[in-house]
Each structure stands twice: as structure tokens, then as C-alpha cells.
């Protein structure tokens, strides 16, 4: 218990909070898809903002969409200010470093809480409670250790549990295999084509995201004054869930040729670009001033400067950002390529559309086959492309 509270939790705190924030944002992204869905004949509807937005979108009620989107954005911004920023600010103390970082996380709400008397009272009492639990478990542990005897061989119940679990696993695998075997070759071919289409879309969204985040991120990262007023704007923009705006998007874009295709790429882009932007910002501001001076003293041209200094320095950050954002783009394809809107279904060819379609139709073999294909592709791309690049970044392009 003491080890958990003094070593394990503090070291894990920052990672836990950042990851929770990311997952939280991912949750908003799938809000609409998660609250209303049909599987075969069955139609699931859960009360919630996502269901409201879906209804509004299928009814084509622009005013309702507006209300829904406004409240969603407000909700996200408020939660960001009242929950995540204070948590990050609080977690700053767990940073393991010996040099104070120049820009500590700040949160007005955290500062207000810390200054309030009510909170101080609550804190003192909670702290007292935790303290006594800690002391008690510590003592209990000591006693238990002293009286510990050689433990018996695993009991019968443990064995039964193991057998049960592995039995279930084998049964599941066999059922899945039979289901997959029933998928005709033509469907597999279709899945392959669809995968190719989605892969192209994911790449397109990555390229588009790179095209605007790198120049902007470098401009902001190199300019303190620009950074000061850009940072909060970017943070708010990034916290707005893209799916909420998707219906509005569709309304505008569907009229044009390849509308759904373009819309799908744009939606993926909206979900993925922020990871890249934040990484570019971090990378650009980490370039040492002396190296920038050196490029000026050596009289390097713009092209040389980007090639010798900026791109190599950004490389590790770009790889990290790209891993997260392409993963996100694959996920996003499920909602981006298939949409039920104003009573009609719009879809384009792609693996995500296939998954959504199979879900809606209750075509389980197809659903299983396409989902497994997506898992396989993402894992392969990670292993064959991103992992080696990541290693290269670690070995050669690390700034020290």
C-alpha cells in the first residue's frame, strides 16, 4: 500500500492523466455512433446528447443540430477547464526532474480551489483518513509477513477457473474460425479493396495534416509572442469533438461530386491533426537557440535550414504524432465512411464503411472479417513502418 502511494501512483500519475484525456476525447468522437445503433433487426437507442444529435441529423433539423453542437462544445470546454486542466496542474508535482520546467501547467480553477477554505477543510479530512488507512495496511502487512506460512499448491477452484477460461477461449476461436471460413472469396476480395481505399484515405489525411501543422507549428514554436495567444485557441479548437460537426459538414459537402469521400477524409483529419500539431509545437520549441543561431551564422538558405535543422529536429515528434493520429484515423473511418443522415444512408467504399454496414445489417461473418482485417492492418503498419521509424528517431534524431 505504501509502495503504491509513494512510488507507483506518483510515477504513473502524469501518464495516466494524459492518457485519460486522450481516451476521453476519443469517447466524444464516437458519441453519436455509440448512442444510436442498429444491429440487424435490433435498434438500440440510449438517451443522451449523441442520440439527440443523431436524431436531429437524420431529421435534418438544423436548429436542433445547432443546439446540440453548442451544448456539446460548451460541455467539452467546461469539463476541460474544471477537470482536466486542474488535474494536470496538480500532477505537475509528480514530474521527476531536477530542473524546474519553464512553463508549468496552470489552471485558474485549480488555483481557486487551492485557495478556498472549504477545500482546505475537505483536504485535511480526506488526508487524515487516507493516512490512517495507510498506517493500518502497513502494520497489517508487517504482521502478515511475520506469520506467513508456506502457501499451499493452487486450490481446486483456481484450477477450475483456468480450465473454464481456456475452454471458453478455444470455443470462441473455433466459432470465429468457422464463421470466417463461411466468408466467400469474393467478399474477401471486396474487403481487400475496401482496405486499400481506407488506407489511401488515412494517408491523405496524414499528408493534409502534416501540410498545415508543420509550417504553423514551427512558426508558433519559434515565436514566443505568437505562441502566447495561439496556444489557448488551439487547445479549445482541439477539444471540440469533430463528429458533432460532421452532420453540418455533410450538408455542405454532399452536393458536390465525391462529397462523401472528401467528407470522410476531412473527418479523419479533424480527429487526427491536433495530435500532430501539439507534437510539432513541442518539437519546435525544443530546438536549442544556439543551433538556430548557428544556421544564421553559417548563412544557410531557407531550404538548407529546414533540411539541416528543423526537419531532423522535428522527426521524433512527427513520428510520435503520426503513430497516434493514423491510429485515430483508422478508428475514425468507421464513423466517417458511413453515415445515416436525414433518413438516408450515405456511404463510400472503405473498410470503416464495411464495418458500419455489417453492424447495421447484422452480418456477423462480414463484421468479424472486416474488423479483424483492420486490426491486422493497423498492427502490421505499426510494426513494419512506425516501429522502425521510431527506433531511428530514438537513435539518431534525439536532441540531448
Amino acid at each position: 500500500m505504501l509502495r503504491l502511494t509513494t512510488i507507483e501512483l506518483p510515477f504513473a500519475a502524469i501518464g495516466l492523466i494524459w492518457n485519460s484525456m486522450m481516451s476521453w476525447a476519443g469517447g466524444w468522437f464516437f458519441l453519436m455512433a455509440a448512442e444510436i445503433f442498429t444491429v440487424g433487426q435490433r435498434d438500440f437507442r440510449l438517451p443522451g446528447l449523441g442520440a439527440y444529435l443523431s436524431e436531429a441529423a437524420s431529421a435534418g433539423d438544423l436548429r436542433a443540430i445547432g443546439y446540440g453542437v453548442t451544448s456539446l462544445v460548451l460541455l467539452v470546454v467546461i469539463l476541460d477547464q474544471l477537470v482536466w486542466r486542474p488535474l494536470l496542474s496538480w500532477a505537475d508535482r509528480f514530474k521527476v526532474e531536477f530542473v524546474e520546467s519553464a512553463e508549468p501547467q496552470r489552471s485558474w480553477f485549480y488555483d481557486a480551489l487551492m485557495a478556498s477554505r472549504v477545500f482546505a477543510w475537505v483536504r485535511a479530512h480526506v488526508h487524515g483518513c487516507l493516512e490512517s488507512i495507510e498506517v493500518r495496511t502497513q502494520n497489517y502487512g508487517r504482521v502478515a509477513n511475520e506469520t506467513k506460512t508456506v502457501s499451499a499448491a493452487p486450490g481446486v477452484s483456481a484450477w477450475m477457473l483456468r480450465v473454464g477460461l481456456s475452454g471458453g477461449l478455444i470455443y470462441g476461436t473455433v466459432r470465429a474460425a468457422i464463421m470466417l471460413a463461411g466468408v466467400p472469396a469474393a467478399v474477401w476480395g471486396h474487403i481487400a479493396l475496401a482496405s486499400g481505399a481506407t488506407l489511401l484515405r488515412v494517408m491523405a489525411s496524414l499528408v493534409l495534416a502534416l501540410a498545415w501543422t508543420v509550417p504553423l507549428g514551427v512558426a508558433i514554436g519559434f515565436n514566443q509572442r505568437l505562441a502566447r495567444w495561439c496556444q489557448p485557441l488551439v487547445q479549445i479548437a482541439a477539444s471540440i469533438p469533430a463528429t458533432a460537426l460532421f452532420p453540418v459538414f455533410l450538408l455542405a459537402i454532399l452536393r458536390f461530386a465525391h462529397g462523401m469521400n472528401v467528407a470522410a477524409i476531412l473527418l479523419m483529419l479533424m480527429g487526427t491533426q491536433w495530435y500532430l500539431l501539439f507534437n510539432v509545437l513541442a518539437g519546435a520549441s525544443a530546438i536549442p537557440q544556439d543551433l538556430k543561431y548557428t544556421t544564421a551564422l553559417l548563412d544557410m538558405g531557407r531550404f538548407e535550414r529546414w533540411r539541416t535543422l528543423i526537419l531532423p529536429a522535428l522527426f521524433p515528434y512527427l513520428v510520435t504524432g503520426a503513430i497516434t493520429s493514423t491510429g485515430g484515423a483508422w478508428n475514425a473511418s468507421i464513423v466517417a465512411e458511413y453515415s445515416t443522415f436525414a433518413g438516408r444512408t450515405v456511404q463510400t467504399m472503405g473498410l470503416g464503411a464495411l464495418i458500419s454496414h455489417a453492424t447495421a445489417e447484422g452480418a456477423y461473418p462480414l463484421l468479424l472479417a472486416s474488423t479483424l482485417t483492420m486490426i491486422l492492418i493497423v498492427t502490421l503498419v505499426n510494426g513494419l513502418v512506425w516501429r522502425p521509424l521510431y527506433r531511428l528517431a530514438e537513435e539518431r534524431f534525439r536532441m540531448e
Binding site: M114, Y293, L297, L298, T308
Partner: protein, 445 residues
């Protein structure tokens, strides 16, 4: 003898920054010239603007007033005939040693074959033969700086500037590298016409320069120039060498001042607020102890740097802090401890704290902080508020540093306490010194 033309003329240059409504002067009315054939050391304590001056001379930064002439022409951009060797080496970590040198030549449009040959030649001259395919991270600090030198020399600059080039190296590597650079310079193996070296280390300035330009801070300005009429190679132990070192120390330490001048005024009051020297109480105590343990009452300050295994900049800061607190007296490069300093050195931990507390209250910044805390609600103030008040006297980073020093000193004296989590400074209640933070705060409320 090389030709005696003036390469660089710095003409009444000033640099001011504004932060909010306040203006801070980093450099005030500095003029100097650098002739061909000269090695000039630019010496001064940290924060006197010597690196800023170097950036102006190379054209990386434009002065707010005055101008820099190179060969009689005003600089409008980066000077293509000058280069800088940085304390941080400024090597590209993803390029090999050879590529790091070649990159400088590539920018000048040299063909691949020529630049490879040139790079290898200069790497050979600094003794890095055989390391051309290594990455900087595989090299020691001293070798990395050799790459820095090779890169700087490969473009054959007329003016070689160095910004504390040996400060990040260990003692032995630094000394070796100094010797090697001097050898290249004095033997005329490199086409460089003049060298300007920024340093805060007095001995280094005397060892290498033909002339020392001495700067002071608040505001950054040139106070004097000292010629070094010694032939190379110079021996540190030689009497003439020591005489120059002593002379420079006397210039930088112990310019006699009246007590109000010495202490300065409180922030917000008319007159200049003198900043607290950036030293920790532990270092200060060790320093006073060392002085008290010497057999003689009076010592040359310059000997202390050697005895304490540190550099002149730090010794000067410690001497200034100790003098401000009344533990020592500094005059003409000599330092002697006062009876109070002796008592402090010999006292027990608690007695030391009491002596320190009594003295630290007289320091205007600390006294000002204590007065504010006494009149504040619950006897506490947010650190941010205090820092912005200090911001009226100092630039932002300096205000932050000053607050940190005041808190460190105040904590040791047990007159001030600081809660890092809340960012709040509060008065340590008398007699409750050993009590916990929260206890004290509740009693104050």
C-alpha cells in the same frame, strides 16, 4: 606582425528591453574596437550583457541604439566573415563529425569533393583524425568542442567569436583545448584575423587575451580595459601573471561604496535596488567557514577560486553576498573576515540561523518582503504577486530569480516560509519555527 587595421568598431551601443511599462537596460553605451591581430577577452559577471554584445558584433542581434561597424561599414545583417563557437557546442546531433564541419562549407556553396577534403584537413588540425564518422553523442565534451572549433575555422572567418567556449568542459579538457587553440592562433596556422572571447573566468581571460575588456552589470557596461603585456606561452604560476589576475580581481571586487549604496534601496523606493547575489546559504556558510579557517586575516580573492575549486565568477558572487551580510570586508582585491563572520563560522546550527536572521533583515529586498507580509491578510502573499512587484525593478527572469533567492535566504533564517504547492509565501511565526507549515498558517489566521 599582422596589419593593424580596425576590424570591429562598436559605437555607443545600447540595448533596452521593455516589459510592460518598464524598460530595462541590458547594455548601456558600450564602445570598443577590435584590431586585426588581436585576441581580446570580454570579461564580466553573469548577466552583464557580454553574450548580447557578442551577438551584436556578429550581427545576430540589432542594438536598440548605436551601431556596429565591420571594416568601417555598418552591419545590417549577420556578418558573413564572423562566426561563433558556443558554450553548448551547437552541433547537429544527427550529423557525423565530418558532416557537422561540411555543413558549414556546403552553405557557402563548395563542391562535395572540396568540402570533404577541407573538413578532414581541419579535423586533422584539431586532432580529431579518425573520429570523422562518429556522432557527437559518442564524443566527450572536450572533443565535441574540438568539432565546434573545426567547424568555425573551416569557413576561415576573419573574426572568430567564442561564447564561454570552455565553460562546459571539465578542468583538464578545458586546459588542453585552451593550449591547443593558442598554439593554432600564435603560430598563424589559421587565417583568422582576430579573436573575441567572452568569459566570466578571470584567469582564462588573462591566460589567453592580449587585452581584457572588463564589463560590469546593472546596467551592462564597459568599466575599463586592461592590457596583458605577457608573451605566450604564459605560465599561471608566474608572478607577472598573478599580478594581472590580482589587478582584474581588484577591479571587479570591492569598489568601495557607502553602506546605503552597498545595500541599495527597497523595491519601489527611489534609488537603485541592488539584486541579491545568486548564491545559496549553504555555499555562503562554507565560504565564510573557509575564510575563518585561514591562518591569515587577509587573503587575495583570486587565490580563493583555486582553493575552493571553483571559478572567479562564483567567488566574486560569494564575496559580494558575504560582504552585504557583514561577514567579510572586501577592498582592493583583498578579502578579510569580520568578527561577526568569525562568530558565524564557529557557531552552532541554531546560533548561525539567528545571526543570519538578524543580518538578512537588513537586506532591503528581504526587509521589504517582511514588511509586506506583516501587513498582509493572514500574513501571507502569493508568490506571483511578489514577483510582479519585483518586476517593477527587474526584468521578468531576474525578478523570478530574485524571489527564489529571497525565499531561500528567508527560509534558512526561519523568517519566511513558502508553500510550493499553493505558491504562497508566509511569515514564519516567531517561536513556531520548527512547527509544520499548516500549523503555523492556522495560528496566523
Amino acid at each position: 606582425m599582422r596589419d593593424r587595421t580596425d576590424l570591429v568598431q562598436v559605437d555607443h551601443v545600447s540595448q533596452t528591453y521593455s516589459s510592460g511599462a518598464r524598460q530595462f537596460t541590458a547594455i548601456q553605451d558600450v564602445s570598443l574596437t577590435l584590431a586585426a591581430g588581436e585576441f581580446v577577452s570580454l570579461l564580466g559577471p553573469s548577466g552583464c550583457g557580454k553574450s548580447t554584445l557578442l551577438r551584436m558584433i556578429t550581427g545576430l542581434q540589432q542594438p536598440t541604439q548605436g551601431c556596429v561597424l565591420y571594416r568601417g561599414r555598418a552591419l545590417t545583417g549577420v556578418n558573413p566573415r564572423a562566426t561563433i563557437v558556443f558554450q553548448s557546442f551547437a552541433l547537429f546531433p544527427w550529423l557525423t563529425v565530418q558532416e557537422n564541419v561540411e555543413v558549414a562549407l556546403k552553405a557557402r556553396g563548395m563542391s562535395p569533393r572540396l568540402r570533404a577534403a577541407r573538413a578532414l584537413d581541419f579535423l586533422d588540425r584539431v586532432g580529431l583524425d579518425g573520429f570523422e564518422n562518429a556522432y557527437p553523442r559518442e564524443l566527450s565534451g572536450g572533443m565535441r568542442q574540438k568539432v565546434g572549433f573545426a567547424r568555425a575555422m573551416a569557413v576561415e572567418p576573419e573574426l572568430l567569436c567564442m561564447d564561454e567556449p570552455f565553460s562546459a568542459l571539465d578542468v583538464l579538457s578545458a586546459e588542453t583545448l585552451r593550449g591547443e587553440l593558442l598554439e593554432l592562433w600564435t603560430s598563424g596556422q589559421i587565417p583568422t584575423k582576430a579573436i573575441l572571447m567572452v568569459t566570466h573566468n578571470i584567469e582564462e581571460a588573462v591566460l589567453m587575451g592580449d587585452r581584457i575588456v572588463v564589463m560590469e552589470k546593472d546596467p551592462g557596461r564597459v568599466i575599463t580595459e586592461v592590457p596583458v603585456p605577457l608573451a605566450h606561452p604564459r605560465r599561471r604560476k608566474a608572478a607577472e601573471f598573478q599580478a594581472v589576475v590580482d589587478q582584474v580581481y581588484a577591479l571587479l571586487a570591492g569598489q568601495t561604496k557607502t553602506e546605503p549604496e552597498e545595500l541599495g534601496t527597497a523595491p519601489g523606493e527611489p534609488g537603485r535596488t541592488r539584486e541579491l547575489p545568486n548564491v545559496t546559504v549553504n555555499e555562503l556558510a562554507g565560504f565564510v567557514e573557509h575564510l575563518a579557517s585561514l591562518h591569515t586575516q587577509r587573503t587575495d580573492i583570486f587565490r580563493l577560486a583555486d582553493e575552493l575549486h571553483t571559478d572567479s565568477d562564483r567567488v566574486l558572487r560569494l564575496a559580494e553576498a558575504a560582504e552585504r551580510l557583514g561577514f567579510v570586508i572586501v577592498a582592493h582585491g583583498d578579502i578579510s573576515h569580520t568578527p561577526l563572520g568569525e562568530t558565524f563560522a564557529e557557531a552552532s546550527i541554531q546560533a548561525r540561523k539567528e545571526i543570519f536572521a538578524a543580518r538578512v533583515r537588513r537586506v532591503p529586498i528581504v526587509n521589504w518582503l517582511l514588511t509586506m507580509l506583516k501587513s498582509a491578510d493572514r500574513h501571507e502573499l502569493e508568490a506571483d504577486v511578489v514577483q510582479s512587484a519585483l518586476g517593477l525593478e527587474f526584468p521578468p527572469e531576474e525578478a523570478e530569480k530574485q524571489l527564489a533567492i529571497a525565499i531561500d535566504w528567508g527560509r534558512y533564517a526561519e523568517v519566511i516560509a513558502y508553500d510550493h504547492a499553493r505558491g504562497v509565501i508566509y511569515l514564519e511565526a516567531a517561536g513556531m519555527a520548527s512547527g509544520g507549515g499548516t500549523m503555523t498558517r492556522q495560528q496566523n489566521a
